[in-house]
């Protein structure tokens, strides 16, 4: 099953390597990984999406907590969480297809961030399902470049 882990770490040299090395050394999977600073100086937040059975996920969480530079690990799959990912997609846009692509942009509420005579670059934000859907829609026009940030996620304030 897919799990999204929120991992608070000390922002010091080698911390990414410790986390990545743990996953590779123990044969765990990283599907996406996002790292950025937090509001607290010296602390970074990693959002890791991974998959595995219950026992594997338990081990991943425990092993992460065992790293000295890891401050806190939360499995967001245990809670209601908002999940987002941003993708930049450069798609081939001929005169014939441009209008249709722009309609898709409209439907998916994404933005055009760059344009040229035969290309459009789109910025798409959403959860995994939405990203996959738009990729499916755009594939037939020819996707030339594709860059995604990996999931970031946050527990919702109200848990039902």
């Amino acid at each position: 099953m897919r799990h999204v882990l929120s991992v608070l770490v000390e922002n010091e040299p080698g911390v990414l390597s410790r986390v990545a090395g743990l996953f590779s050394g123990r044969g765990f999977n990283i599907d996406t990984l996002n790292v950025g600073p937090t509001l607290e100086k010296g602390v970074s937040l990693m959002t890791i999406s991974t998959h595995g059975d219950e026992q594997i996920i338990e081990q991943i969480i425990k092993q992460l907590r065992k790293l000295i530079t890891v401050i806190k690990v939360v499995d967001l799959s245990d809670t209601k969480a908002g999940e987002r990912e941003m993708v930049l997609i450069k798609v081939h846009a001929s005169e014939n297809s441009r209008a249709e692509i722009l309609r898709i942009v409209d439907i998916f509420r994404c933005k055009v961030v760059d344009v040229s005579t035969d290309e459009l670059t789109l910025e798409v934000t959403g959860d995994q399902g939405k990203i996959n859907a738009i990729v499916n829609m755009l594939q037939r026009f020819g996707i030339k470049e594709f860059a995604r940030t990996g999931t970031v996620a946050m527990k919702r304030s109200m848990q039902f």
Binding site: P13, G14, G21, Q59, K66, L67, I68
Partner: protein, 563 residues
């Protein structure tokens, strides 16, 4: 007062109570060696950096204190890796100081530069590259704290040369707290209560103890608990010595080369109390047939050990000492139970297994010395009072089986990593820490050659370590596997060009003895144990002797090959 980095390092070591370190100098650490003579710390010059880490490790295992070592950058640092991984697998507190090229050169492929922090990240509990002399004292404090607390382990501190030369005000931190590292020492009382109730209901309870009992100094309470509630005890190889090997409740080691009784007891137990052990594959055999009838209580200070290999019914995350104390209290409150009577049938059954299939060996007609006989005699002559270190392979298994360990920290062996060449430098470390004690390295003719250069260290510091080579002219355990599972295809295990170990001992300035007849074993051992010098005893043993019982890799514990 302002001190240099090198002075801060040595002063910090002193503050940590370090009296001895094992090391080897080089360009990147020469500033430290420049200060060393002024310090109270005694330095032991090894002949290879791997030996330094094993010696620090043997020092730590035999005392419970943190072992320390100091080596230079580049090859000095990479040579420590096997030693570090050995300590990591067996959870031994060691702090390794490596030299590093000056900070300005890091990343430039400078002479003797290597990213040792990167290399050792997966085999240390934690490691540091010190980039600023102002961080030094604090990081050393952290290193010792992390190495010795929670589940212990090796910590490496990488010291660039310019940091050792730079100056700063020195103040050693008195205490330390890390927000991301707070090992849990006390058990959850409710969980312990549940465990006590489960044990009270058990009809066929069994204690399976491991190295955690040794490192948390819980041997005494384990022994008390087992005797008070009449619980038979088996242990992993790492746990030998925590429970007296001559106690009637002792079944011997379990697992691949465990006793028949121990493996049968695991197979039939209805409650298994696992203390400070981690269900390693050499212990469990085929994991889904391990302890098939048992509910499992698992006490371990490291949460990752729990449910890593087997599912457990009552997990208790705690230091073994506190958990067993609490368990003893909780079980003491269950007063309706006459424990000895309740478990008498079960104890009788397991003792029956002990008698039915004791550890034994064929005395044979060949006239060759039996390695098991040598171990029995070492036990008799030392009355179990020696510190035994081992190399890895058949010698290690015979030493585990045929010598009875009565006290914690008298059995020192590379369990998890299985490092050949470990035993001799570890014996040097143990001898440094225990000057008056008899320290014996049980070796094979293969593994002793992996760190034989440390003879010079032992002789140089008058360390009267006794090396007993069970010489079968084979890499015996490899040969045994080839005989049993590879159709006797003896590819590579033959060591017929071994050196003359007697001459080799003499060349290093030690004593050497050759034993070829069974009747010479005791007189020579007597002589050697009384000698104040480093000794090698080359005992020519039965070449094709096997270690039994044996559970083939991946088989269930009950599928034992017996003598």
């Amino acid at each position: 007062m302002e001190l240099t980095g090198a002075q801060i390092l040595l002063e910090s070591l002193k503050q940590e109570g370090v009296k001895h370190i094992f090391g080897f100098p080089g360009g990147a650490v020469i500033d430290i060696y420049d200060e060393l003579p002024k310090s109270s710390i005694q330095h032991f010059l090894v002949r290879h950096e791997q030996g330094a880490v094993h010696a620090a490790d043997g020092y730590a295992r035999s005392t419970g204190k943190v072992g320390g070592c100091l080596v230079t950058s580049g090859p000095g640092a990479t040579n420590t890796v096997t030693g570090i991984a050995t300590a990591y697998m067996d959870s031994i507190p060691v702090v390794i100081f490596t030299g590093q090229v000056p900070t300005a050169l890091i990343g430039n492929d400078a002479f003797q530069e290597v990213d040792i922090v990167g290399i050792t990240r997966p085999c240390t509990k934690h490691n540091y590259l010190i980039k600023d002399v102002r961080e030094l004292a604090h990081s050393i404090k952290e290193a010792f704290y992390i190495a010795s607390t929670g589940r212990p382990g090796p910590v490496l501190v990488d010291l660039p040369k310019d940091v050792m030369q730079a100056r700063t005000e020195f103040e050693y931190p008195k205490t330390i707290s890390l927000r991301s590292y707070n090992p849990n020492y006390t058990p959850n009382r409710k969980q312990v209560k549940k465990a006590a109730n489960l044990l009270a209901k058990a009809e066929r309870p069994l204690i399976y103890s491991g190295g955690g009992v040794i490192s948390s100094e819980a041997g005494e309470i384990l022994t008390r608990l087992a005797r008070r509630f009449s619980l038979p005890v088996t242990s992993t190889m790492m746990g030998l010595g925590a429970f007296p090997g001559n106690d009637p409740l002792w079944l011997g080691m379990l697992g691949m080369h465990g006793t028949y009784a121990a493996n049968m007891a695991v197979n039939n137990a209805d409650v298994l109390l696992s203390v400070g052990a981690r269900f390693d594959d050499r212990v469990t055999g085929k994991v889904n047939t391990f302890a098939p009838r048992a509910k499992i209580i698992h006490i371990d200070i490291d949460p990752t050990s729990i449910r890593k290999n087997v599912n457990v019914h009552i997990p208790i995350v705690s230091d073994c000492l506190n958990a067993l104390k609490t368990l003893d209290e909780e079980m003491g409150e269950i007063n309706a139970v006459q424990w000895e009577e309740k478990h008498s049938q079960w104890v009788k059954t397991v003792k029956g297994w002990c008698q039915e299939q004791p550890l034994r060996y064929e005395t044979g007609q060949s006239g060759k010395v039996k390695p098991q006989y040598v171990m029995e005699k070492i036990y008799e002559l030392t009355k179990g009072e020696a510190i035994i270190t081992t190399e890895v392979g058949q010698n290690q298994m015979w030493a585990a089986q045929f010598y009875k360990y009565h006290k914690p920290r008298t059995w020192i062996s590379s369990g998890g990593l299985g490092t050949m060449g470990y035993g001799f430098p570890a014996a040097i470390g143990a001898q440094v820490a225990n000057p008056g004690k008899l320290v014996i390295d049980v070796a094979g003719d293969g593994s002793i050659q992996m760190n034989i250069q440390e003879m010079a260290t032992a002789v140089c510091y008058n360390l009267p370590v006794k090396i007993i080579i069970l010489n079968n002219s084979y890499l015996g355990m490899v040969r045994q596997w080839q005989e049993l599972f590879y159709n006797k295809n003896y590819c590579a295990p033959c060591l017929d060009t071994a050196p003359d170990f007697v001459k080799l001992a003499e060349a290093y300035g030690a004593e050497g003895y050759l034993v070829e007849k069974t009747e010479d074993v005791v007189p020579v051992l007597n002589k050697v144990f009384a000698s104040p010098r480093t000794c090698i005893v080359d005992i020519r043993v039965e070449p094709e002797e096997n270690v039994y019982p044996m559970v083939p890799a991946g088989a269930s514990l009950t599928e034992m090959l017996l003598v």
